[in-house]
């Protein structure tokens, strides 16, 4: 996970599927983040190779949860099979998705304009 100002960026790798248990792991990470008050989440999907219905459920659950807390969850660079699956559910009509990280980060600042934006990004990924 990385942080850029008050935006938390999760770089997802590999697969988000129920059979590999990765969806459970993603769910826990996202819950931990929201429990600590994070409300601007960017899921970087560029290196996510597979997603099944359990992974989609986690993303939608967190999107709904964060939105209810006046926050935002957005997607970055879905590719290949992952993009196909998101299109099946028309999720890209609902959840904002960006191809470029800079544009994605800027969109958070526009929507939260009344608050002073902090554009400093952490240099090292955090575990």
């Amino acid at each position: 996970m990385r942080e850029c100002g008050d935006v938390s960026i999760l770089d997802l790798l590999g697969r988000s599927t129920i059979d590999a248990g990765e969806s459970e792991l993603l769910s826990k990470h996202l819950r931990d983040l929201t429990a600590t008050g994070k409300r601007k989440l960017l899921l970087n999907l560029v290196n996510l190779s597979h997603i099944d219905s359990s992974g989609v459920s986690i993303i939608v659950e967190m999107y709904v949860s964060v939105k209810r807390s006046d926050g935002e969850l957005k997607l970055l660079s879905p590719r290949g099979r992952v993009l196909d699956v998101l299109r099946v559910f028309r999720l890209l009509d609902v959840i904002p998705s960006f191809e470029d990280e800079t544009n994605a980060l800027a969109s958070f600042q526009r929507e939260f304009a009344p608050r002073r934006a902090d554009h400093r990004c952490s240099q090292e990924p955090r575990n």
């Binding site: 590999g14 697969r15 599927t17 129920i18 059979d19 590999a20 190779s49 099944d52 219905s53 359990s54 989609v56 459920s57 986690i58 939608v60 659950e61 709904v64 099979r81 699956v85 099946v88 559910f89 028309r90 999720l91 009509d93 609902v94």
Partner: protein, 300 residues
């Protein structure tokens, strides 16, 4: 003489578990070494499958992974002999390329899993970890009848067995089926299988789902029958498959009202991956059909 009273006991040392791994080239070897090292397993490596057979005859191993590179003649016969010598050892088969009938043979011989090249590293690592962690795996998959074109089997209702079965299907890289179509079929099967095991079998290991794979000349069909009471598809308001086109998340609110965990995407995802998804009257049996366009090299 050893006295029990008042003595302090050191915990019994856990015997180190050992895997026999046949050489599959530097990349796969290093990948597997990393997994075993992280789990504190020791590894004995041999050059080819024939050497593996002589080694397992003399020594016991907890997990055996065959090699994809250094083939000896009649590899599957060697696998059969390994299984005969060590019937309860977990055996993961790595084949350099898919051969029709191999997956069926691997399941018949009780292999833990089967991969054909090119290998997806993440899937291989996940399966090795599952083989390391699974407390019980025998009898999870029972072949009821089988030819390369039509396999009927029973699968125990648990996630580990589902995972193994999905990998067996994934390992069947039939070159006459376009890769995108193969991926779509595996994806649809994954959703329907887990749905059947969860809702029909309640992930109860004493229950089984019955599955048929059929390969016709221009289509693939899969049938999954679960032991549950069934349902009416049109009454599933809590599933995305019944959400209106303009409101793809409306079923989520229904799930919240009904106290259901987030989800409901599986049936729609499965339906979109195949050409036909058909339930029987009771709703506990489903048929998936994917029509296969011949590859350009096969077109007349």
């Amino acid at each position: 003489m050893t006295r029990c009273g008042g003595a302090s006991f050191a915990p019994s040392p856990v015997p180190q578990r050992i895997a026999l791994v046949v050489d599959s080239g530097t990349e796969i070897n290093e990948l597997l070494d990393g997994v075993f090292a992280s789990e504190n397993w020791s590894v004995q490596r041999v050059h080819d499958n024939c050497t593996a057979l002589t080694t397992v005859t003399a020594n016991s191993f907890d997990l055996i992974i065959t090699g994809s590179k250094n083939r000896c003649t009649e590899d599957l016969e060697v696998v059969h002999k390994i299984r005969a010598a060590r019937p309860h050892a977990r055996l993961i088969i790595l084949a350099d390329k898919f051969t029709p009938g191999d997956v069926l043979d691997a399941m018949r011989q009780g292999a833990f899993s089967y991969f054909s090249g090119p290998f997806e590293h993440a899937a291989l690592v996940d399966m090795v970890r599952q083989a390391i962690d699974s407390p019980c795996w025998d009898d999870g998959i029972e072949i009821l009848s089988g030819t390369p074109a039509w396999v009927r089997l029973a699968a125990r209702c648990d996630v580990e067995t589902a995972n193994r079965l999905i990998q067996f299907l994934h390992g069947a890289k039939d070159p006459s089926i376009p890769e995108a179509d193969r991926e779509a079929v595996v994806s649809a099967f994954r959703e329907i299988l887990l749905n059947a095991m969860e809702h029909g079998g309640h992930f109860d290991p004493s229950h089984y789902v019955e599955i048929s794979f059929i390969r016709a000349s221009r289509a693939v069909a899969l049938r999954v029958k679960d032991p549950g009471q069934g349902f009416l598809l049109e009454e599933l308001r809590h599933a995305a498959i019944n959400s209106p086109a303009g409101d793809p998340l409306s079923h989520f609110a229904v799930r919240e009202e009904q106290g259901l965990r987030p989800g409901g995407f599986g049936l729609l995802l499965a339906k979109k991956q195949v050409d036909d998804l058909i339930y029987n009257e009771k709703g506990n049996e489903v048929l998936l059909i994917k029509y296969i366009n011949p590859l350009p090299s096969q077109a007349v």
